[in-house]
């Protein structure tokens, strides 16, 4: 005999919350490092992107699959006095685009919010069922 206490939608909504929490962490790292010309390896900061995957097959939660570096080109700006400038006076800047990060932040925050909405509504649904026992 198995004792099943499945509250599936709650676990799924929580996995969504956790995934978006990490996504927001990545976005804030990108924003904070938008001007970092040195990542310790002689390169400027490279923008990071979250890649999500479904847990299990079919119905399931979500998890962060990998944190992929954005391989698009770095931007160069003329700043001759900068310690990281090359011979021509150009400094390689991170490939972070602030408006894009803001847009991603909005999307992530909305997704987080949607998951909490699911959690809350499911809770209300179970409570409605429990009313039958009254």
């Amino acid at each position: 005999m198995e004792v099943n206490t499945g509250f599936g939608p709650i676990d799924i909504a929580i996995s969504g919350l956790r995934a978006q929490d990490k996504n927001i962490k990545l976005i804030s790292s990108n924003v904070a490092n938008a001007q970092s010309t040195d990542n310790g390896n002689g390169e400027p900061y490279r923008r990071l992107e979250a890649v999500f995957k479904t847990d299990g097959d079919g119905i399931g939660g979500v998890s962060l699959d990998e944190i992929a570096p954005d391989m698009s080109d770095f931007m160069k700006i003329l700043k001759p006095g900068h310690p990281d400038a090359d011979e021509q006076g150009y400094v390689t800047m991170p490939n972070v685009n602030l408006p894009i990060e803001m847009m991603n932040l909005n999307a992530a925050a909305r997704t987080y919010q949607a998951n909490t909405a699911i959690l809350k509504r499911y809770q209300e649904m179970v409570e409605t069922t429990l009313e039958l026992l009254k």
Binding site: M1, F7, I14, L17, Q123, L130, K134
Partner: protein, 119 residues
């Protein structure tokens, strides 16, 4: 199931497990940022299933929930593995379980009351 288990006993065991779990959740949330803290959880489902399966007579009032450390959760850089989201989810589930048990108990008592009042 060899013994006719009293539903009140099952519910009571459940309520005891839920209140223990509520304590562990509170403990986990309190230690959200404590370096090196590993979360604790309550094992009850498995123990209840085992008790219901066993061919011997089991006293459900003696089925006690156990505290254990999952050790499979993702550890943060400070050696702590508590996730606020997970704890909130556990708390919602715990509350719903608790409500269900209380309602069932209420219903059971009402049945008994009804039986007493038959004239």
């Amino acid at each position: 199931m060899s013994k006719i288990n009293n539903i009140v006993d099952i519910i009571e065991a459940g309520i005891r497990a839920e209140s223990l779990r509520q304590k562990t959740i509170a403990n986990n949330v309190a230690n959200l940022d404590t370096p090196g803290y590993r979360k604790v959880d309550v094992k009850f489902k498995e123990l209840l299933a085992k008790a219901l399966d066993s061919s011997e007579d089991v006293d459900l009032s003696e089925v006690e929930a156990q505290i254990y450390q999952p050790k499979k959760t993702e550890v943060k850089s400070n050696g702590n593995d508590v996730s606020l989201e997970v704890e909130v989810g556990e708390m919602v589930k715990n509350t719903l379980h608790h409500k269900t048990y209380i309602r069932l108990l209420q219903k059971k008592y009402r049945q008994i009351e009804l039986a007493i009042n038959v004239k």
